[in-house]
Symmetry: C2
Amino acid sequence: MTLVSEHIEPDTRERILVVAERLFREIGYQKTTVADIAKVLRMSPANVYRFFDSKKAIHQAVARGLMGEVEEAAQAIAARPGPAAGRLRELLSTIHHMNSERYVGDAKLHEMVEIAMEENWDVCNAHIQLIGEIIGSVIGQGVASGEFEVADVPVAATCTCMAMMRFFHPQMIAQCVDKPSPTLDQMIDFILAGLAPRGKAK
Amino acid sequence: MTLVSEHIEPDTRERILVVAERLFREIGYQKTTVADIAKVLRMSPANVYRFFDSKKAIHQAVARGLMGEVEEAAQAIAARPGPAAGRLRELLSTIHHMNSERYVGDAKLHEMVEIAMEENWDVCNAHIQLIGEIIGSVIGQGVASGEFEVADVPVAATCTCMAMMRFFHPQMIAQCVDKPSPTLDQMIDFILAGLAPRGKAK
């Protein structure tokens, strides 16, 4: 223990998360124990607990890492110059594709997302909030450029988020595979139509 | 058995469904057995099986009954005269309130809905399809009256359905209680804006 110097600890925390994510994907969130994670890393469970208070803390950190990747990609698109409508389409499509890859399909990670959403983990709420704000920033850019016309940008942003639920929410992506559904682009067209300037009064 | 005349059988089938629905609400879908249902009705499980092939068949029939009530209310609104925009708002609100009452809150029925949706029961797919068609008929009426302008009515209908997912899907209604969300009327306003006639080109 005296050989463990300060600079190794961030790596250990990161290694624990890498292994945890891999085991969640391979054997599932519920079935993975802290002992399993520790075994792969050739450390004791007690050592894992030096870095994380609980299994739930590990899970929140894994979820945080995955969500952070999506937020980073979203912020990059929002920061680019150019017409807002095209960037909004790209933003909504990117969030959909990244969530599909990360959480659905072969990955058992949507089991973790289900629990996270059901138990109302703070990381989920904060992520949803931030994605809404990023969407709101692009909508705001569109209002400034005259491409969009909305009464209230934050409300339009949360409506856009909610309208995209079948394409954003990992459980809904998984569940709706065999259900009647518009395509991603049809849904985005519909949203863009709602944001477009009004002509004559309704 | 010779005393059981033809006209009693529909009542028995209906009584089984009434009891099944009550037990699903009280003790939960998973925990209710065919024996439980039979016991309340003072009949043998074998007798229940005369009317339903399996527990799943009973569940599909209970789900069918609940969904049928929503479809009936929706069709009544679609059949009324008057401006389409107001009736579309009423239609979307009604579906939300009925699904909230039936499946969420005290009722353990959303456990049944979860399984039904995950296992892709035909009754669910048919219901979603029909609700989409009813919404489509009101959108079509709005296009005819000039209140709405859409390129493709069925696509606009499925987009409207999907956009309302947080307010229609029992699991999402339950899960989103504590999540950032637009109000029901804000979401409907957003959808109506998407359906409204375009003025100048986008």
